[in-house]
């Protein structure tokens, strides 16, 4: 390769496409466009829901109507027209499937493209996958193995049908529909999502994984995930997302609720790779997500996220450390390039005694993007001996992007020890030159350096995901060097 110029890079970029930007031609069933009580009733009826759930949806809808879109985040985008969205788009239902051979061949092909060949996965890796396309769960693997342990893992709709008592008990307790604008919207119109219950004392033997896919144009994705880890149980949960390349902005407003009962542990990892829009900022997903977990006594919740996609991200996975000795962790790498905007971080609410939280956030901004860390650490008056450590670093590549840090630290108890550190700097020219001198070209050097910079976070991911995440970081930064 000759001297790597910006022009060459640009040429390369034009040919290099968002890897997941294909559209799968599957027959879908759509509800009429727009949002109204009738649409909500239709969704609920389609899903054959019990009346309490319909009531819940309608209450949420009424609350939503009175709420305003939040504007405090450091993002700027044309407002969403909520009447110009399809709230229900499902692959046409087929009869219950018994084996893979019966799965729609188009669907199977899509899984291949997504890198989730179900067959392969059954053999090779120890991951159970639930796939949600356009908000409807289409396939869950490994059901039998999990069922033997009493683990319930599958689509949210199935759980509503088969385990209504569990859903009713926990749904909306961590993220009530009154929580915020998008949470209310989700509660009104969610179509599906994943549900997971780990019984007392059970250590889930494999990674549970949900793959989210937006396929239809003009649809919003409103999925809901609920993970309940009963006393003394453990689960590691993975979430991945992709969408086709489209000129329009598509809305993704999800809610994730985690419940970790006494002595339980939930590890929740996300590799978010929604379509980020093109170089001019056209298209891309608006990713407005509410994620929150509750820790009872001695429980632990660990959020890990690798965020490379979406044109606008608004997302703060949080932990309510209610139980004594509970632990919350947040590990994040957020990469923005071109015209992407991300406002992401976490909230750690310390309520119990001896609670501990750790926040490691690594932002990388390139191109014309804006990348903000926003986080809250709150130590309540009764949270004796609470500990928090936060490290929020930002790396800037090029002088057209922005990196911002907005931490909120609220301490109401003297025994607390709270430390927050943040640095912002550009990628080290001396480091790049050092790599160059050893024969590594600038693009590879940057990948190497960024992966090194993000290592503390990547290390938190399960092996298969870590490899995928590293590749994603590399891809999303391509063309960011001048």
């Amino acid at each position: 390769m000759g001297k790597y110029t910006e022009e060459q890079l640009e040429k390369e970029l034009e040919t290099q496409e968002y890897k997941y930007g294909f559209v799968t031609d599957i027959e879908t069933e759509k509800a009429p466009i727009g949002l109204s009580e009738d649409i909500i009733r239709l969704i609920s009826a389609k899903k054959n829901e019990p009346n309490w759930l319909l009531e819940y949806r309608l209450k949420a809808y009424k609350a939503w109507l009175t709420m305003e879109e939040p504007e405090w985040a450091h993002v700027n985008y044309p407002k969403v027209d909520f009447q110009d969205i399809y709230y229900y788009a499902a692959p046409k239902p087929k009869k219950q499937l018994d084996s893979l051979d019966e799965v729609d061949s188009e669907l199977l092909e899509m899984y291949e493209k997504l890198g989730i060949s179900i067959d392969e996965q059954k053999k090779l890796s120890n991951v159970a996958v639930d796939i949600v396309m356009d908000s409807v769960s289409v396939k869950t693997t490994f059901q039998d193995t999990l069922a033997k342990l009493g683990i319930i893992f599958g689509s949210f709709s199935d759980a509503v049908q088969n385990h209504p008592e569990l859903v009713k008990k926990y749904m909306g307790t961590i993220v009530p529909y009154t929580d915020n604008y998008y949470a209310a919207l989700n509660a009104a119109v969610f179509t599906d999502g994943s549900f997971c219950y780990i019984p007392k004392g059970v250590r889930c033997p494999m990674e549970l994984s949900t793959y989210f896919r937006i396929n239809e144009a003009q649809t919003g994705q409103f999925e809901r995930t609920l993970v309940v880890a009963d006393q003394g149980s453990y689960v590691s949960y993975l979430e991945g997302c992709t969408a086709p390349m489209r000129d329009e902005n598509q809305l993704h407003a999800a809610v994730v609720e985690l419940v970790a009962l006494d002595d339980a542990e939930i590890k929740y990892s996300t590799v978010q790779n929604w379509y980020p829009g093109d170089k001019e900022g056209k298209g891309g997903i608006y990713n407005f997500v509410t994620k929150r977990g509750l820790c009872e006594k001695n429980a632990k919740i660990s959020w890990t996220q690798v965020e490379t996609g979406s044109s606008v991200t608004w997302k703060y996975p949080s932990c309510i450390l209610k139980g004594d000795n509970s632990v919350g962790e947040f590990y994040s790498v957020a990469v923005t390039n071109n015209l992407q905007q991300a406002d992401t971080g976490t909230k750690m609410l310390h309520l119990g005694k001896n609670t501990k939280s750790t926040i490691i956030s690594k932002g990388v901004s390139a191109g014309n993007s804006q990348n903000s860390y926003r986080g809250l650490v709150k130590i309540n008056k009764n949270a004796i001996n609470a500990r928090n450590f936060s490290q929020c670093d930002s790396l800037l590549m090029g002088n057209k992007c922005g990196a911002h840090t907005f931490p909120y630290i609220e301490v109401d108890n003297k025994s607390a020890k709270v430390e927050h550190e943040a640095t912002t700097s550009k990628i080290g020219e001396d480091q790049i030159f050092y790599c160059n001198q050893r024969g590594i070209d600038t693009e590879s050097a940057i990948k190497l350096i960024v992966n090194g910079y993000a290592k503390d976070v990547l290390n938190q991911l399960p092996m298969e995901f870590a490899v995928e995440a590293q590749k994603l970081l590399a891809i999303s930064l391509e063309g960011s060097v001048g």
Binding site: W72, N399, K400, P407, I409, E410, T424
Partner: protein, 425 residues
Amino acid sequence: MSVVLEDKKQAFLANFVAKSADKDSSIAKQEALKALENLEFPTTRDEYWKYTRVGKITNANYSQSPSFNVSDISRYLVEGLGAYLVVFVNGFFSEELSEISQAKGITICPIAKARKEHVDEFDQHFGRLSKHESQFFSAVNTVYNTNGVYLNIEKNSVVDKPIHMINLTDAANAAYNPRNLFIVEENAEVTIINSYETISGSSFTNSTTEIYVNEGATVDSYILQNQSETSKQVNEIDVVQKANSIYTANTVTLNGELVRNNYNIEVKGQGCKTNLYGLCLTSGNQHIDNHTIIDHIEPNCESNEVYIGVLDDSSTAVFNGKVFVRSEAQKTNAYQQNKNMLLTDDASAYSKPELEIYADDVKCSHGSTTGQVDEEAIFYLRTRGVSELNARKMMIRAFANEILENIKIDALRAVLESKIDERFS
């Protein structure tokens, strides 16, 4: 705005009308008057006022034109300082208590006088920096200010001794709006001390100060807030720095029921240095809120910010520091640190150190720590024979020292040190 709120606002503003007899026809005043039609009392819904309620200020009734009778101000002087003295009592300039010998290159006078006698300079600078169009209290000050200090340091003049402004209140419940304008010309150097003290009673001080630090100039400023425990203060300091200038502010808050400081620093030239240091020692139900904005507009500048809080009883300290680095401001070094020490379970610390960065070749960092006295260190000291009380005092002093050691005037530092020791004995 609701009728109730509108009425409340008018009632609050009525506290000031009678006193603004002075003829001020400035543009800023017109702008502020207009802004006040729409501006409301700040609430905790405003991000800028998230942790501070102003009800204690806005719900109070203030006595009108309080008279005063002060003859001895020796206890408010800094011993051994030898400064130019400008004294205000209840917002009124006291010529007899002040000591302003006019030296070459310096103009010090009440702002009311400058408005008439230095018309051009005044018009060029007054109200050009203050946030009267967006901030309620700044607008109130711009419309209703009665007096304050006008300071002009000529090019290349190095002021021989510090200028000490003493703001005293002596009234059951006084409200006043001091307004200062400092113009420091090219390569001039000056040290300014602004102290706020209460003789008796309580007060609401709504102060606005505009400072022009021109090319190569050096301004060292000190604010000492030591009003009574029922007094309130909102203090806005707007600074613009030109190339190669140095601006340093030390803000020490020892008392006051509710104190809110707003620093807005625009760094509009290359090679500038900006240092903001703050120390607050709070007790009782005090609420101290320090807000700072440093806006790096030009390249090759450096800013340093350290705020320290020692919080006792049921007091609260808020720190919200914001550093902007604009896309032109390459090679900026910005450092921001907030440290709080909580002495009781009822004290609260809220910290929001923010960075907003749009240039890539920068070194910016910030940190925030909140905790209690290091008990292991206390234990260590005690095993060496130090009494527990002294051990604690020692640790608190060491903690506060990070700010005190930046105070270049020995006489002032000595006063502060003794006040801190007094507090914890």
